[in-house]
Amino acid sequence: MGEVILTMKGIDKSFPGVHALDHVDLEVRRGEVHALMGENGAGKSTLMKVLTGIYTKDEGTITFEGKEVEFHNTREAQDAGIVIVHQELNMLGHLTVAQNIFFGREFKKGIGIDDRKMNEEAAKLFERLNIDIDPTTTMSDLTVGKQQMCEIAKAISHEAKVIIFDEPSAALTEAEIEELFKIIRDLRAQNLGIIYISHRMDEIKVITDRVTVMRDGAYVGTLITEDCTKNDIINMMVGRVIYEDPKTHSMVPEGAPVVLKVENLNAGKMVQNVSFELHKGEILGFSGLMGAGRTETARAIFGADPKQSGDIYMNGEKVTINTPQDAVNHGIGYLSEDRKRFGIVVQKSVAENTTLATLKEYLSGIFINKRKEEKVAQEFVDSLATKTPGVDQLVVNLSGGNQQKVVIAKWLCRNSDVLIFDEPTRGIDVGAKNEIYKLMNKLAAEGKAIIMISSEMTEILRMSDRIVVMCEGKITGELDIAEATQENIMNLATREIS
């Protein structure tokens, strides 16, 4: 480890309703791999966005190579030598690898672009990184892993001094991760500063030198990786032990009937041999890290994506679900993690969204009975305490929590027996979260069966009667709430590198 190259001090950033970063500190040295850890939503990505100029900070200082800096866009950060390898790929699928790497700063030859030189340079880069990719391949023909490698190559080609890896291993295979680590070690040897964001505890141990842990937008502490154990880090990450009325035991009555049974469900690589049962009145938590295959499982059950094999039983009867229509007809409702894209129709009113799945019931002859529709929507607005000026308000004007309530109302309206909540409180502020929790408990008490996918440990522990943990597309464990702790969940959710 060399001298300090980058210091972030007292970084503060608020968004309307959310205090995203609360005076966070971070220090990176040359020739070190610095892990940045924290649960989902701890503020890691926000911090990196502040660093690379995507967000402007409210307070604090960034010192880079001894000078105080402030970047206004990624370009400025890149030019200074700070580059980020994004979690979601920013690639241009129709162009070749080399063209992607040098997009926006092509080599010129006369009036044209010197593709040969770009290919050579890209090949050199890959050589330096020991990656076996043909620079002339079209980007969309590569696997996700290879595309990630290209992103890394692109980052390095910027004469970077600090490279940020944002969950680089999420989509990679075993062998690719090995390759990635080799690259990272090479870069470290070349005296670059590396920030490594990951959820995979074991990777942290293997590759990083120091670990900075964040929690709820605040800085928790920095450890030397060698000197700490996995449990130390987990404890720092989940440090908060106090949360409102956690469940200590399952609220499901003995002998509650099985409502939904899934057997050997397979859908792509993210859903492999998934089997579980869901009881009446139960909240079944689905825990796991990002990319564990929980959403994919839910979508496969719901018929939103095609599945290869597997049986689904509703109330003991085998059912065929190929489309969301089938699922809805069998009484399953799905609340997507991405409300704006998959949940609500933003340009339509609260009432219209509420009845979207049950429109048939509001028809008088061929007409939609608006009065009835509005009355029902109003009932749900009241019972869910949705804050809206009226049921004719466009959903786009509501806050995240209230939008979520509208989606919940949509499925309650349908009287679904099984509700799949995918990240029910993502992007929702604390007050509204509690309301959603109360609501879910009430629904369970009324006999609905709920699957709750959540990346927030506290949420899982607070809400679930039983917890299924997934990792890499497989169920790695099932815990009763009584025996579940953050540590043993995290253990199941993280994978040992073999």
């Binding site: 023909d141 696997t143 892993g145 690589k269 492999q272």
Partner: protein
């Protein structure tokens, strides 16, 4: 480990793709059509017929070279057809009534095209108006404008024997009354080569593809997306201007109020040639080949004695067929 399943190497290319994909099919179709018409009609086999087919295809080919660029950005340019007539009218009007030299008229023709392209591009890229609507409106506007400027008359560019008639030799050199060399095909091929180079080996082309592929990613790479977005429409306008010259050189009189529908032949050709309707993918050579399919159908069907109107029906079906190939291919990839 489970993850090894995912370690499939690069997606396997189908054997079709190795041969050049859709372009390969289109070449086969062109050959098949040509052979079919040649067998069915003795007159079709003649050299003069081939010269004629080329004559009548230049302006559509040129338009389709240009419109390939907006199409690749994920947009469209519907103004090129009526625009072509408008530019040609104005250029010819200046030559005939204001004593412009022929080269001057040609220059105005092309510059007018560039100007309309600039307007289209600005409205699309800077003002964020959907390309379909923008160019639909400029389609109407150029249609009206051309007629108003020239006062409603059909305009004849100088005929071959008149002074200034040299420009008609740009596309066809006459040895004698019966022997013509379709030199235009050489220029068209050169332009195709140049624009292929522009599309594949210059910043303009690279960023055009980038905009069509993932506009946001292109912007985040620090590219002046708006400028290059405008450029795509300027190129389209430029080639509509060049097509106007080709049209004036081949045909006798340019009538105001015509031209609507030319753009669909050019766009249809580009799409048959493999330009993706959603942007990102496409090639200038593909567009060239696609236009030849349309032109062959248009000129070939009368020769085999088929009622002329079947040509439109067949063209419509060919278009759907071409896109269907693309749709089916994409579906296969998803599964």
């Amino acid at each position: 480990m489970a993850n090894q399943n995912t370690a499939v190497a690069a997606k396997k290319k189908s054997s079709l793709d190795k041969l050049g994909g859709q372009k390969f099919i289109v070449i086969l179709v062109i050959i098949a059509l040509f052979l079919f018409f040649s067998v069915m009609s003795a007159n079709f086999r003649k050299y003069t017929t081939i010269v004629s087919i080329l004559d009548y295809s230049y302006y559509i080919v040129l338009m389709s070279i240009g419109v390939t660029f907006p199409l690749i950005t994920g947009g469209v340019d519907l103004s090129i057809g009526t625009g072509l007539i408008c530019y040609s009218l104005v250029g010819g009007y200046l030559i005939s009534f204001h004593n412009f030299p022929v080269w001057g008229g040609m220059l105005v023709t092309v510059l007018f095209g560039v100007a309309i392209g600039l307007v289209n591009g600005t409205l699309v890229a800077v003002m964020d108006i959907p390309p379909f609507l923008v160019t639909l409106c400029t389609c109407m506007i150029t249609r009206g404008l051309g007629a108003i400027i020239v006062g409603g008359f059909g305009i004849t560019w100088p005929t071959a024997t008149q002074p200034g008639g040299w420009f008609r030799n740009i596309f066809k050199i006459s040895i004698d009354a019966r022997t013509k060399i379709p030199i235009g095909i050489v220029w068209v091929l050169i332009l195709v080569a140049v624009m292929s180079f522009v599309l594949n080996h210059t910043k303009i082309g690279r960023y055009t593809i980038g905009i069509g592929s993932n506009k946001e990613a292109a912007r985040l790479s620090g590219v002046n997306v708006k400028f290059y977005h405008i450029m795509a429409y300027v190129i389209s306008g430029l080639f509509a201007g060049l097509a106007a010259i080709a049209y004036s050189a081949v045909f006798a009189t340019v009538q105001p109020g015509t031209g609507a529908g030319f753009e669909l032949e050019a766009i249809g050709g580009a799409i048959i040639g493999g330009v993706s309707a959603s942007g990102g993918a496409g090639s200038v050579t593909g567009s060239l080949l696609g236009v030849f399919v349309i032109c062959l159908l248009k000129t070939g069907l009368p020769f085999i004695g088929l009622q002329a109107n079947w040509q439109q029906i067949i063209t419509g079906l060919v278009l759907i067929g071409a896109v269907l190939i693309d749709v089916i291919k994409k579906r296969r990839e998803v599964h």
